[in-house]
Symmetry: C2
Subunit: 207 residues, 2 copies
């Protein structure tokens, strides 16, 4: 491998997100713009926080378990979305089951339409308060993206995709991921929307 290839391989950032995660919404909406200059290749890594939280002894979002933390988060998210110009409607269900959406995202990833699908699902959950756990919601999003909803959903719920999502979540744990959004650049892990800029800068510097 020559230096140029090695350099190109390193200008890469893995974006680990859960469709139920509030701060992942903000990162998903700004990562595309941030990755433009310096050009950083984003690897989209949908995963499930649920099993990771369960391993930490939590059966719900920490924002529900710890009310002061939850109250703060919703206000902080309001301020953050206002600053980023992002619409925000507090979801009537929180956290929403994100497993089906994550499976669809796994189908989307190798086909190149994962960024658009991801943005649309996050908008449905946090801007429009739609139930992303329902196949109908995802089918409407797929239609909007010009994807064949029925066959995509069939592939998303195939045993192979289910296993792939379990493997992806186990991989997150192996990487030391304990929350979302998380960003991995080389061996460096960054947690939280406010570390996205640092992660992009590191990836850019390693080209």
């Amino acid at each position: 491998m020559d230096n140029r290839q090695q350099g190109a391989a390193m200008a890469e950032l893995s974006f680990w997100y859960d469709f139920a995660s509030t701060y992942s919404y903000v990162s998903a909406m700004r990562i595309g713009r941030l990755a433009e200059a310096p050009p950083v290749s984003i690897r989209w890594r949908p995963f499930l926080l649920g099993p990771i939280f369960k391993a930490q002894g939590w059966s719900d979002s920490p924002f529900n378990i710890y009310p002061a933390k939850g109250r703060y988060m919703w206000r902080d998210l309001e301020r953050l979305c206002a600053r980023e110009g992002l619409p925000l409607r507090r979801p009537s269900v929180f956290p929403r089951h994100s497993v089906l959406a994550a499976r669809v995202a796994l189908v989307a990833e190798p086909e190149g339409w994962c960024p658009q699908f991801t943005a649309a699902v996050f908008a449905a959950n946090f801007a429009d308060d739609r139930e992303i756990a329902e196949p109908e919601t995802l089918a409407a999003i797929l239609d909007g993206l010009g994807q064949p909803a029925e066959s995509v959903l069939a592939r998303a719920t195939a045993e192979e995709t289910k296993a792939a999502l379990r493997a992806q979540t186990e991989n997150a744990m192996r990487l030391g991921i304990f929350g979302a959004p998380s960003f991995v650049v080389g061996k460096e892990l960054f947690w939280g929307n406010e570390r996205l800029d640092d992660a992009i800068a590191l990836a850019g510097a390693q080209r």
Copy 2:
């Protein structure tokens, strides 16, 4: 109250910190510089995370209870300190008992030497790995600041000061504080070192 007085009264930021808190160290070391322009008056609010964590069901730092979170925090702190030019030596005891140092800080606050004392205690804990729970460590710091160590420590351990620290911690809970560092500007709460700049900006804009 005329507008000018009201404006002056609002250009104020309360800085809530625990001497055992790693990210509070970083904030304590940069808040003075950040508050210079626009001039923002800092209210130093030492408190104890212990009772707040206990109310959340934790008998230790979450960075010890959740190992992945702890491993991440120490690496993140390294990166952060490197960027801020802050020395860092991982404390051989974590978290250190911060109650005595907090009581001394309460004595210092109305006398105007709380900023210097706070910086010295954080440096002892996180740059020099000294045991801030020991009166000898705090006495040496007080000597260095030209404060009468014996009489200050006597006042710090008086019943009145102990009660004041309990009241301060209860006040933190009433404000919705669940971690440190936290910053309060008017009715807005900010949590975490990376929100300090936002808090300063808000305070500055309200002058």
